[in-house]
């Protein structure tokens, strides 16, 4: 499902965000990406989602060769992904439920049907009583859960969740992780970055550790 071969990413000013990264992830796998701040986790996600091109190296995601992705293909590639951005990227002047329904509307689903399904997912992340509140008035943790619901509503092939529990207490974090692990049972591949080493330890999943842009560890807890 995800294949990275000798991937390098260098930003102007000789900032080596990724160095010689080799990662292979199969369908329905659940993988934690850990590493200190500035290690290159978000950079890796940006590249996997096709928002950025690697400086060198081969990159294949969900059957698309990202080195040769054309502008016309890009939207259809992105529809195979569900991304939780570290900064959420929600539409601030729209309500929680409208934000969650967006991926379905973009795929051409009817508005009413999309909102119906969105309210189901709002429930899954425990925000049923925040449905009609504009996301700018939601708390950080609530916004994070809206972002997560938006990333999984369309049953993507791959979920990329950048710090999905960064603003949540332990109980909420466990709930969210359960939800993400549940997603792998319906065939989705899930990648999660996190700083929370306790949470990672408890989960017994595959862990890829990155440090200074290099993979320093790849295996189970």
């Amino acid at each position: 499902m995800i294949e990275l071969c000798h991937v390098y990413k260098t930003y102007p000013g000789a900032i080596h965000a990724l160095r010689n990264v080799d990662i292979h992830i199969k369908k329905s796998e659940f993988v934690f990406i850990t590493g200190p701040s500035g290690a290159g986790k978000t950079t890796l996600f940006r590249m996997l989602a096709g928002f950025d091109q690697p400086t060198s190296g081969k990159l294949q995601v969900a059957g698309f060769d990202l080195n040769k992705l054309t502008t016309l293909q890009k939207p259809y590639f992105r529809r195979k992904l569900g991304v939780v951005f570290q900064d959420f990227k929600l539409l601030k002047d729209q309500t929680a439920i409208e934000n969650i329904a967006m991926p379905l509307v973009i795929r051409g689903e009817k508005k009413s049907r999309s909102l119906e399904l969105a309210s189901v997912f709002l429930q899954k992340v425990g925000l049923e009583n925040r449905q009609d509140i504009k996301t700018e008035s939601l708390s950080g943790g609530e916004q994070q859960r809206v972002a997560l619901a938006r990333a999984i509503i369309h049953q993507p092939d791959i979920i990329l969740a950048d710090e999905p529990t960064g603003n949540l207490d332990q109980e909420r974090s466990e709930e969210i992780m359960n939800l993400l692990e549940f997603c792998t049972q319906s065939g989705m591949t899930v990648l999660v970055t996190t700083h929370d080493s306790d949470l990672v330890r408890r989960r017994k999943q595959r862990i890829i550790s990155i440090k200074n842009g290099e993979v320093v560890r790849d295996g189970r807890a």
Partner: protein
């Protein structure tokens, strides 16, 4: 959002104004072309005589001319009739008649000769010489006026004016494009964040640009409809209030764009609007 409405309103006004200008240019070209065509068709030869012609004697001359196949119509204006015409024209132009007895008594009688349609200018010229030579045999002959020169001047003026106006028209379309671009560009900047998020979630470029294109087409149609209603009102007002001076300057020669032409211009306006929106969105959105 409120400032966006203000921008849309002001630009609608400017767009309407530029389209009204375009309509005026268009009507001007159409009218002068029509006037040139009419004057070319109605070119007349007028032969003047110091005294009224006597039908018994000059009957033959008139009949001879009438028998030419190139001649449509020949009419005689006596000195008395000429005076009446002159008085009428003075009154309609200046509102009153200053009695100039000396001037009135010197008005000649005239024979006005009209050619058939479709006779070439060269043939007309030959016929004019022929007729004038015949007229010179009449003792009271006083000279002639042939309007071909005026018609020629009007025709060449029309061609020049058309070129200039065409250039101006293109310039107006360019202005139109720039104004619409600015409106859409400000909207795109305003919604940059939303555009980015929608593209991250898999929206195609068409999905992203569609609302902007619809908006700019709406602006284009709104301003053309406004411009059309201004033009129609203006032209009918002009037609009602124009003072007919002669057959050259009458309300008949003011032509408004017809339905087909209006539709064509609107089609161009809509295409320009859509294209401007497309350009503006695409220059700022990177998928």
């Amino acid at each position: 959002m409120r400032s966006s409405w203000a921008i849309q309103m002001t630009s609608t006004i400017v767009l309407t104004f530029s389209l009204v200008l375009l309509g005026i240019i268009f009507s001007f070209i159409k009218s002068s072309r029509y006037a040139a065509m009419k004057s070319q068709q109605n070119v007349k030869l007028e032969v003047f005589f110091k005294e009224d012609l006597k039908p018994e004697i000059d009957f033959e001359w008139m009949n001879q001319i009438k028998s030419f196949p190139e001649i449509l119509n020949i009419s005689f204006l006596s000195q008395e009739q000429a005076k009446e015409e002159f008085k009428k024209m003075m009154i309609s132009s200046f509102g009153s008649l200053t009695e100039e007895a000396s001037l009135l008594s010197r008005l000649p009688s005239s024979v006005s000769i009209q050619f058939q349609e479709g006779v070439s200018a060269e043939t007309k010229k030959i016929k004019v010489d022929e007729i004038v030579n015949l007229a010179k045999q009449i003792t009271t002959y006083d000279g002639y006026v042939y309007q071909q020169d005026w018609a020629n001047w009007l025709a060449s003026f029309t061609i020049k004016a058309e070129k200039g106006m065409m250039f101006l028209g293109l310039f107006i379309f360019l202005i139109f494009f720039l104004i619409i671009s600015n409106v859409i560009r400000s909207q795109v900047v305003h919604k940059q964040n939303e555009i980015e998020i929608r593209s991250f979630l898999g929206a195609t470029i068409w999905q992203i640009e569609k609302p902007f294109i619809i908006n700019s087409i709406f602006l284009g149609i709104l301003s053309s409809l406004l411009a059309i209603s201004f033009l129609v009102t203006g032209i009918s007002f002009l037609k009602q209030n124009i003072q007919p001076r002669s057959d050259m300057i009458s309300s008949e020669i003011i032509l408004a764009p017809n339905l087909f032409e209006t539709f064509f211009v609107m089609l161009v306006v809509v295409s320009i609007s859509a294209w401007a929106a497309r350009v503006c969105v695409r220059e700022r959105v990177y998928l």
